[in-house]
Symmetry: none
DNA sequence: TCATAAACGAGACGGTACGTCTCGTCTTGTG
DNA sequence: CACAAGACGAGACGTACCGTCTCGTTTATGA
């Protein structure tokens, strides 16, 4: 769909191949959010992408792989990394943004779909893992800045701190289903900030 | 399989019904651990339980619900709550036990299956949520004891602390796939313990 | 669904299984005659039989096998063996009836479809072979009667004589496409009758 | 179909067009004999001919037509017409050569493939018909010589006699699958020779 | 004890989706 | 301009599993 029209100005390199790939991945993304992993059929994707099923299978060898690819493509977007000047502020802001994403209908559905997809096929797990790893890695600068400011010691474990901030939110989202609001963001940010700092001075 | 041999006098009014229910749930549990959610077919469960597929559907209206029930049944087991005498010790022990469960092939597959099942209907989501909530709630005494020992202030948020401990582990398990070992248990326990304590003294 | 209603009067032995089998084979036969082997899809058969595609595949493992079965079922029909009192008369009558069948639109399409089906899988070839063998074998009594009447010697090769009668007709039908009419029947019958008799007296 | 005639004016013997045409037809012939009609794919032909599929479709509009053309090209070969000096001898020799062709793996597959191809469209049927008609017509001189020798009357129906000779063999090959050997050749030759002669004297 | 309701075994079925295959067309770039 | 390369549309194929249905049989109680 994306670009059915020949796109005159489209200087050569963007041939049909690219157009097809793009529109299919887009359709995949959309349908993944609208329905879950199961209600999602390759035929639907194809027809929404204005393409035939066979074409999809020519490029992606299975439903799972298609989803993996679609997810991978959208992995670098929409993740503004806060820079408030203080560790606590940054952590709070980050937690809030995670919560905002997870709480929105789209974000929620998308996130669940990704998780479900990973649960369905071991093949996809790796793909999903790197998606999330990249996403979380983008927050590491927050810790690095805090180290530079002297708020945290140089040997701080950035990955651990980020995981500790985000983990409780995801646990609520995926497992316990307990309410998720900005207050949670503040409390968990405080806990983690305190922990990271205290661990330091130990 | 069929009947783990209750079979003593057999003249127990709850006879066959119970036997069927039990053996099916057991078969479900086993298969859930052996294969994942998708490789898992109701027909297989039935045949392993020595029962006909129709019988399964008479009692559980769908595959997901069957899994939900099977999971619920086994929910109270295997969760020894540590009591080492110190907050840090308890948290470390708890983290280790969570990790041990999640790291095993069986536990891993089971956990993923639960997640996948939850994705199948809002009803099941609620069911799964309460499963996890209960499971995590069992750890709350750890915090209460720490409060009594004076390691933590009375207004400590037990839920949050537990979630902060467990969250990072689950994030690695479900999302990033980073390695999970006992060292992680120690580091996250330390971070959370420090955070909870420090928050206190604030 | 042919007959969803319980069909009270339906005396037991004709269960659903039979009904399904019958209607599918019938639909197969019909479609085989209407279209050829290629324009023939299992889905079409299923839908005409009021049955779902999967059901067809449950009973017949492939399109070719389905056709083979359908053909086999109709193999014993419509083959009146002439008994005119003389060898020449019988051979002429038999040739005419073969020609009549082959010349009709239905018979022509059906015959071609059978040939085509046989060409599609070696497994089917055997099935088709026995179909034709049976069909031709039914004409053997013509020769036996001629022997009893003294028109032919006791060691006459019935199979050969029948094949010699029918062969030229099929060659025209399948290979050369030359016109096939009753005159041909007479000429070939005469030739074969003369040959069989002469061979005798040799 | 495309270009049956050698294209006289085209005197560029080394032309690419000719080369392509030749190699494709050759590959078609080979593959036709190696596999049957279905196991035969246009892609395979193209790749064996060292040519692209598109090129094949530029010249032959369909798989069936390609086969028809390939068959036509090879139609004039390998058909030595016997001349033994007697009608019976000629007929026996002819029957043996037909049997030899049909019995070989190559010949069998090729023949079946031709039949199957003919089933695909009326156009092809005509094409195949003339192929076989020509082939059989080549045997007519056998009868003519017999007439000249006085073995057969002048009004003998050559076509019929040839068909009567060949028919039974083809019936066994295509329909009943009964064994085909040289003994059959002798018996059928004898029957037909006797018949033709006797008919004469009638 | 025997009748009767409930649960079960057996097995086909409708239905949805999957992933595959091959045919024949169409696009894009190259010699 | 024909060709190579290769994606594409179309549509059938055969498979897997889900959840439903019917029919006959077993099992467990209550009159």
């Amino acid at each position: 769909m994306a670009e059915t029209e020949p796109r005159v100005g489209e200087q050569r390199p963007g041939g049909r191949a690219t157009r097809v790939r793009t529109s299919v991945l887009e359709a995949t993304s959309e349908l993944l959010m609208e329905m879950g992993y199961d209600q999602f059929s390759v035929d639907d994707v194809a027809s929404r992408a204005g393409v035939h099923k066979t074409t999809v299978y020519r490029r992606w060898s299975s439903k799972a792989e298609l989803i993996a690819d679609a997810v991978r493509v959208h992995s670098a977007e929409h993740v503004p990394i806060p820079d408030t000047g203080s560790l606590l502020g940054d952590l709070q802001a980050l937690a809030c943004s995670v919560i905002a994403n997870i709480s929105s209908d789209d974000g929620s559905r998308r996130s669940r779909a990704i998780i479900a997809a990973a649960a369905h096929s071991p093949d996809l797990t790796a793909s999903m893992n790197s998606f999330w790893a990249e996403r979380f890695a983008m927050s590491v600068p927050i810790i690095e800045r805090a180290v530079q400011r002297g708020e945290l010691p140089p040997d701080s474990d950035a990955d651990l701190i980020i995981a500790a901030l985000i983990g409780p939110i995801w646990v609520r989202f995926l497992l316990t289903g307990e309410p998720i609001d900005d207050d949670l963001a503040h409390r968990v940010a405080q806990l983690v900030a305190a922990g990271a700092t205290a661990t330091t001075e130990r």
